[in-house]
Point group: C2
Chain length 199, copies 2
């Protein structure tokens, strides 16, 4: 039985789960969630994930929340050592960028997009400043290496790419970050790549 | 040669690295950083970590940033499968809570403390609302299980405990969250536990 993803097409966090499954070749049952109606805040979804957020991922009896944790699971279960190695240095170096997706990118381009595209009430000037900071740091990394970690595509790239590639929807232009833009194109060229609206 | 931690005593993120090393019994060379003078924003520290933050961790040639990624490294290198297992489900279930430390706790009790204790300019009402949300979710988990993940102490607990235990420094009282308060006491009772100011 295929794993299930409770999904929203326009969510970059849901998209990164679909993307990794497509790249590895993992069958996935995608179940659209009526987000506007608040289905994620009501049973049965709120029982599966008390955080009342999507994505929610289900593989047999195991239910997982948080897109980065879901990527970790998929990579470990179906991706061998390639997308997420288990040696201490490799795992930690990839994890550093998973944490960037969870923190700096969430507070930056993701928050700015939530404000501009979906009308969330938050300090968008703060989110744009956070975006400029993390994009400059990513530019520095990607100007000297093709990928975020270990010199090859890993879940670090899959976790970080979506909201960076969507940053124009939060009023942040990637044209000032040519190495970041080239990296987005590199991810798009991976065998099995799938897109989402605006990517 | 012992691993090095570039450290600030009052940082909960630095403390969690010292704590895990103490619990596992990993020798650590602690190097205090003159944070008020901005030493973390200048060479040599800004070369080690372009994010200009602490903690920074160095083990031989390997340099790591981000406290959660550092915990992952220490647990994998010196902690066996106990503090951070590598099977897909175990790693993902612990990682879910590492992401809570990186996101919900950082945006909640950590931000509120940065405002109240260190004078950071940020939306403290927002940080207090985020604190109430994540503490209620942790209360739900910890009312039915002694630990955050896998029914035993893992790096999830070490990552999440410090800023929760310090939440009173950000104007958030733990007395409304008895299961969370009992869990903090449980972490404090682990063999080898060390504290920090206010914990």
């Amino acid at each position: 039985m295929a794993a299930k993803l409770y999904d929203l097409e326009l969510s970059g966090n849901c998209y990164k789960v679909r993307l990794l499954c497509a790249l590895i070749g993992v069958p996935l049952e995608v179940i659209p969630v009526d987000f506007l109606a608040g289905a994620h805040k009501q049973p049965p979804l709120s029982d599966l994930n008390p955080f009342c957020e999507i994505p929610v991922f289900q593989d047999g009896d195991l239910v997982l929340r948080d897109s980065q944790a879901i990527l970790i699971y998929i990579a470990r279960k179906w991706g061998g050592e390639s997308w997420l190695p288990t040696d201490p240095a490799g795992l930690a170096q990839v994890s550093q960028w998973l944490m960037v997706a969870e923190n700096e990118i969430a507070r930056g381009p993701n928050d700015a997009r939530l404000h501009d595209k979906f009308g969330y009430k938050l300090d968008v000037a703060h989110a744009r400043a956070k975006s400029a900071r993390i994009l400059a740091l990513m530019e520095r990394q990607l100007a000297r290496d093709a990928w975020l970690a270990l010199g090859r595509p890993t879940v670090a790239d899959i976790a970080c790419m979506p909201y960076v590639a969507l940053s124009h929807e939060g009023g942040v232009a990637l044209e000032h970050y040519p190495a970041v833009a080239a990296w987005v194109d590199r991810v798009k060229a991976l065998p099995g790549f799938i897109g989402m609206p605006e990517i």
